[in-house]
């Protein structure tokens, strides 16, 4: 077992956990949490790939590491937008749910 | 000299770790918010202080040592303010 394999496996489980939570949890906020876990798993895989590419005196391949910084910031913006939508939805309808029975059915 | 520094590092970091452990046990076992807070702040402040103290001889440069102390001071500032806030909230709305 090397460090990269350990964290690679950890990342794989994180993606699986996130995917499960995303499908199974009915509450949007819990779905968002699960999405964040899944995202962390994906980012961790990228960091593993970066680490495997250590060369030229650098601890890891700087290109995927730079991509990761971009991806983390984008994921934060996504979470902020999702949270704003949830809060507005609960203000407007008094509930924060994705099931259509609650909304006005057509 | 190095032996003394190593001894300091080992003792201080171990003592720090002990305080963290005690604080965690307190957090889990104490009955209400205020006592838990008590356990936690002692552990944080003292534990982290001891760990920082233990790491100081190993930093290699004065600037790095200064940064470590700054980290400790910032944690002290934040944790004292936050504990005050939690305690006020706890007093206003008893569990």
């Amino acid at each position: 077992m090397t460090t990269t394999t350990i964290f690679g496996f950890c990342a794989a489980v994180l993606v699986g956990l996130g995917l499960y939570g995303l499908i199974v949890n009915p509450q949007p906020l819990r779905k968002l949490l699960a999405f964040n876990l899944m995202g962390n798993g994906v980012f961790l895989i990228c960091a593993v790939i970066a680490r495997r590419g250590a060369a030229a005196g650098m601890g890891g391949d700087p290109v995927p590491q730079a991509l990761l910084i971009t991806a983390i910031v984008v994921a934060f913006a996504a979470s902020a937008l999702a949270v704003a939508l949830m809060l507005r939805l609960s203000e407007e309808t008094g509930a924060c749910s994705l099931s259509s029975t609650r909304g006005e059915g057509d | 000299m190095t032996a003394a520094a190593n001894l300091l590092t080992i003792t201080a970091v171990l003592a720090g770790a002990f305080f963290f452990l005690a604080g965690t046990v307190g957090l889990l076992r104490f009955p209400d918010t205020l006592t838990r807070l008590h356990a936690l702040t002692k552990a944080d402040n003292l534990g982290l202080g001891l760990v920082v103290l233990g790491l100081l001889p190993r930093t290699g440069s004065v600037v790095a040592g200064f940064k470590l102390i700054l980290v400790w001071l910032l944690v002290l500032l934040a944790s004292s303010a936050v504990s005050q806030l939690i305690a006020r909230n706890a007093r206003r709305s008893p569990p």
Partner: protein
């Protein structure tokens, strides 16, 4: 270092590609700074300049007859990022420019800042988001780097989701949230696939990947992940559930953008990946799966559309069905390539299908918006009198519908003809059946809407609101684009095929 194949060297005149991508975003910045009424003015200036840019790009593509390639910052891939525009990208940029301009004309009536207000939420958000959608789509069409494409996909999502809930009602907020969660999960799958490709091949550049890719398990996994993520964003059956409430609930101009353009972004990326990156991996068997989902989408989407009571929901379900057609081309291309036959006409057919659907669907949603404004509702059973009140709009709706059905000389007709010929050539008759059944079902609901709206209005009926003539003409212009698109085959050259890497000589 890396092969200096002519396809990856920068070409002259390609710097316009950065303008096409960044101009809309520059408009967003300026609109945000100036605010208020100026947001719309900035949007208009950007649209005029943007259309000119896209025309200039097409000219330069036609004159060189080769893909335009640009290295950002002067750094060649794999270190840097390349922009690359072939015939497919330029056709998509052209149709997006046309639809954006028409939607902008239409939206001037619904989204102008009310007199007296310095700045209003609806107009301000709409115009800036319109520009953001445009910029991200152009980026998707020209980016040659799979990570930049991820950023572009996220941009498109952030601009698209709030368009759904511009009116702020609870149900549209819910639809926007569902759309956002689907889209975010989809992009994460895509990103995972992209990272895996980097882990194996050490590059994110599409052209370099295409030259190095090998059929092996990790490549298959990456292809599956990226495709699955993009399908969720494109709303291909069975991942379509978020689409109808989102597209039907948005304001008409926003629905036109979402249904006509936004979903085409992720579809285009599937096409790009399957044609250029994964041709070795895209076995006919995998392509059959894509088309199987497509065929189910056609049948189920159209059947559900037929049962809708409201016009906007009908149009939204019709989008679900039409997305299905977009995926029928994949097994045809794969089979033609496998038997070393020219797959060019089928790709052209698929692209014509996209272009005709983009224009027709935008026209239909905008027409539905005008009908809603005039009647005060969009119940299909009560459309009586709308043809009398809005003759131009209803005609446009029927013309756009004819293009969806595939009547000559519409773009839809030529598209389906090319796809059917591909199916005949490769003896895949089952896809022909799906297409023909879909055409019949589509004609059924277009016919129902037409008959209902032709019925005379009840006595003493008056319009709820008079709609502007220019809005009706904007709808008509788009419908005509779609209906007359079939004549594009008479053009001396096939733009779509310029610079295609996968095309056999």
């Amino acid at each position: 270092m890396l092969p200096t194949a002519p396809t990856i060297m920068p070409t002259a005149g390609a710097s316009l590609l950065t303008v096409a991508v960044l101009l809309p975003f520059f408009g967003v910045l300026f609109g945000l700074l100036l605010g208020g009424r100026n947001a719309e003015r900035v949007a208009w200036a950007t649209i005029v300049l943007g259309v000119v840019t896209v025309l200039a790009i097409s000219r330069s593509l036609l004159s060189t007859r080769a893909a335009l390639i640009y290295h950002l910052g002067g750094w060649a891939p794999p270190l840097g990022i390349a922009l690359r525009a072939d015939g497919l990208s330029v056709c998509m940029m052209l149709v997006v420019a046309v639809v954006v301009a028409a939607v902008a004309v239409y939206a001037h009536a619904d989204f102008s800042t009310p007199a007296g207000a310095r700045e209003a939420r609806g107009p301000f958000s709409f115009w800036l988001l319109l520009l953001a959608v445009w910029g991200s789509l152009n980026l998707i069409f020209v980016s040659g780097d799979i990570f930049t494409l991820y950023v572009a996909l996220e941009l498109l999502t952030f601009a698209g989701a709030p368009l759904v809930s511009l009116d702020g009602r609870g149900e549209t907020l819910q639809a926007a949230l569902r759309y956002l969660l689907f889209a975010l999960a989809g992009s994460m799958f895509y990103l995972l696939g992209a990272f895996l490709l980097y882990g194996v091949y050490g590059t994110l550049d599409i052209a370099l990947l295409a030259s190095q890719i090998k059929a092996q398990p990790v490549t298959w996994a990456a292809a599956a992940l990226m495709t699955a993520g993009l399908l969720a964003k494109t709303a291909l059956f069975p991942l379509h559930l978020w689409l109808p409430p989102a597209h039907a609930g948005a304001p008409a101009a926003a629905s036109a953008l979402l249904s006509g353009l936004v979903i085409k972004g992720s579809w285009f990326l599937v096409l790009r990946l399957w044609l250029d990156v994964f041709p070795v991996t895209a076995t006919p068997a995998a392509a059959q799966w894509l088309a199987a989902f497509g065929a189910s989408a056609i049948i189920i989407g159209n059947c559900v559309a037929l049962r809708q009571a409201r016009l906007k929901l009908l149009i939204a379900y019709s989008t679900v069905a039409q997305i299905g057609y977009l995926f029928l081309m994949f097994p045809l291309v794969a089979a033609l390539d496998a038997s070393r036959l020219a797959s060019g006409p089928v790709v052209t057919g698929g692209l014509l299908q996209v272009v005709s659907h983009a224009t027709a669907k935008a026209a239909m949603f905008m027409a539905a918006g005008l009908i809603y404004a005039t009647l005060g509702h969009d119940r299909i059973a009560d459309l009586r009198g709308s043809a009398r009140a809005l003759p131009l709009t209803v005609t446009a709706f029927v013309l756009a519908g004819a293009s969806l059905v595939g009547l000559p000389p519409s773009g839809g007709f030529v598209a389906k003809w090319l796809l059917l010929s591909g199916a005949t050539a490769t003896a895949q008759w089952w896809w022909m059946l799906a297409m023909l059944a879909g055409g019949l079902l589509t004609s059924a609901y277009v016919f129902i809407v037409m008959v209902r709206s032709l019925a005379p209005a009840p006595a003493g009926w008056t319009a709820k609101r008079r709609v502007s003539a220019y809005q009706q003409w904007a709808v008509m212009a788009l419908a005509q684009c779609s209906f007359l698109l079939g004549f594009a085959v008479l053009l001396p050259i096939d733009i779509v095929q310029i610079g295609r890497t996968g095309a056999p000589p």
